[in-house]
Amino acid sequence: MTESATHNTHLPLSDAEVLRIRNDFPILETEVNGRPLVYLDSGATSQNPLSVMEAEQEYYEQRNSAVHRGAHTLAVEATDAFEDAREVVAAFIGAQSNELVWIQNATAGLNLIAYAFGNASVGKVSEAAERFALTAGDEVLVTEMEHHANLIPWQELCRRTGATLRFIPIHDDGTLDMAAAATLLNENTKVLSFTHVSNVTGVINPAAELTAMGHGVGALVVLDACQSAPHLPLDVKALDVDFAVFSGHKMLAPTGIGGLYGRAELLDAMPPFLTGGSMITKVTMEEAEYLPAPQRFEAGTQPISQAVALAAAANYLTETGMDRVHAWEEFLGQRLVRGLEAIEGIRVLGPASGAPRAGLAAFEVAGVHAHDVGQYLDAAGIAVRVGHHCAQPLHRRLGLNSSTRASTYLYNTSADVDAFLASVAEVRGYFGVDGTPA
């Protein structure tokens, strides 16, 4: 076990404890452009602790094999590791293990749902699958703050089925217009899909309330938990959502793995998406019969070692304590916003300081393009994300094309935030747009 085992989970996180946590993350010790790395891009992808890398290494050195297929010992051990991982990760989000489907990433998970609904909408399908079918007149409702991953799959589903895509608008401060949501939801709404936390504004949507509203009109409710599962205690049962997706690489795990939660009853009724080996019972040249969920949705050789690594990451987070992680990031998020608000020429997207937000902040620098801001910070060793963050409609709504985003995680200190703020304060001067001669 690495350092993390020594955490005192009774106290809130502190800079001192974060410094201990950082020992588990070798990449955080590297230098960039001759400066110690200040990694503030965990909203895009997070870094992996040693225990996660070791879990994967151990898997390849001791029990790598195809799962659910062989009678030999390695295959049994690989299968155990794989299914144990499912149990750990399912528990991490409050689900049962038969309700967790492995996916490549959240994007694939949202596509899985949209395509399965699409498959229920063409040709002969089972009676159970009919509830997922969409036709002209049906509506899919999303929000104006969605990541492209929770928007385009629905656009394409609507294109294929003739259903109509609608969206809940946002207020100027980035929060969702709940009054509009109430008006837009109606008996034609078959699907309500929304992000738990915005990856741009840091807004935390009232997920339980929205879900209840969606269920009130009989809609299936899909939660994009990409920015919540890694950062706050997530309980899909408590929220009562029907589906949820998240990506491993945003929560201390490798790329190539993620999770799709679906209520058991729904997963079992839903038609398959990807087809092939390991998800069937009986196959003839003419047709195939499918296994129950979750196997029905796991065609072909699965990302086994990545699932094992994701479970190690979930364990790392659980051992640290998700409530502590959340509280620490709330603290960092407020520090970010307060600091940015104090710098001239900066406009923070989303809620002002004091209002609830996740541990991230996107902003505009008057007169300096986001890519130039990012480049300046990079020269100081500070890694942030620039661009539209896969949320073009949201940026357009807020009147800009791109922004700069700093996003924190459990391994960031207040010193990271302060170094970032100090650098941002220099940007307009460097580019000669602060009124002083350049």
Binding site: R69, V76, T79, T281, K282, L291
Partner: protein, 153 residues
């Protein structure tokens, strides 16, 4: 005894060839129009594709006959054979008790010692519990029998 030998005990190898009860005729496989006292269930092991169709006949509270058709590994065939022999003559409560004991032993990963008093010949299948991938083999006929019995009145 090596763990392989404890899996394939002599009695298992013999029972897998004996296939007692394995005489359900092809024309009854569909299981249509069953009278109240007869239940039938088809089970498929998705890992290997092996299948069994098992029919149970009851008289009042008692199992009066078991017939099955199917193919599978020696474990699954021996298990069906032993089950057929043991269950005929038991009443529902006795079958239930036997089932849950057998299931518990099978799922124990070798941790629970089979009680021959309770399990009789089926105790010979306890070696299977150390081979998680084969537990489904041993359970196949039992799951089918449980379901078939539940259909009868």
């Amino acid at each position: 005894m090596s763990s392989l030998d404890s899996l394939y005990q002599q009695i298992i190898l013999e029972e897998s060839k004996a296939r007692r009860g394995g005489d359900l005729p092809n024309d009854l496989l569909a299981g249509n129009d069953l009278p109240e006292n007869v239940g039938q269930c088809h089970q498929l092991n998705p890992v290997c594709g092996d299948e069994i169709t098992l029919r149970i006949e009851t008289e009042g509270d008692q199992v009066s006959g078991i017939h099955w058709a199917g193919d599978g590994c020696s474990i699954s065939m021996a298990s069906a054979s032993i089950l057929s022999d043991m269950v005929v003559g038991l009443n529902r409560a006795e079958v239930d008790a036997l089932m849950s004991n057998f299931r518990e032993v099978m799922r124990s990963r070798g941790k629970i010692q089979a009680d021959e008093e309770i399990l009789g010949d089926a105790a010979a299948l306890s070696g299977v519990s150390k081979f998680p991938a084969r537990v489904k083999c041993a359970m196949l006929a039992w799951v089918a029998a449980e379901d078939a019995l539940n259909q009868t009145r």
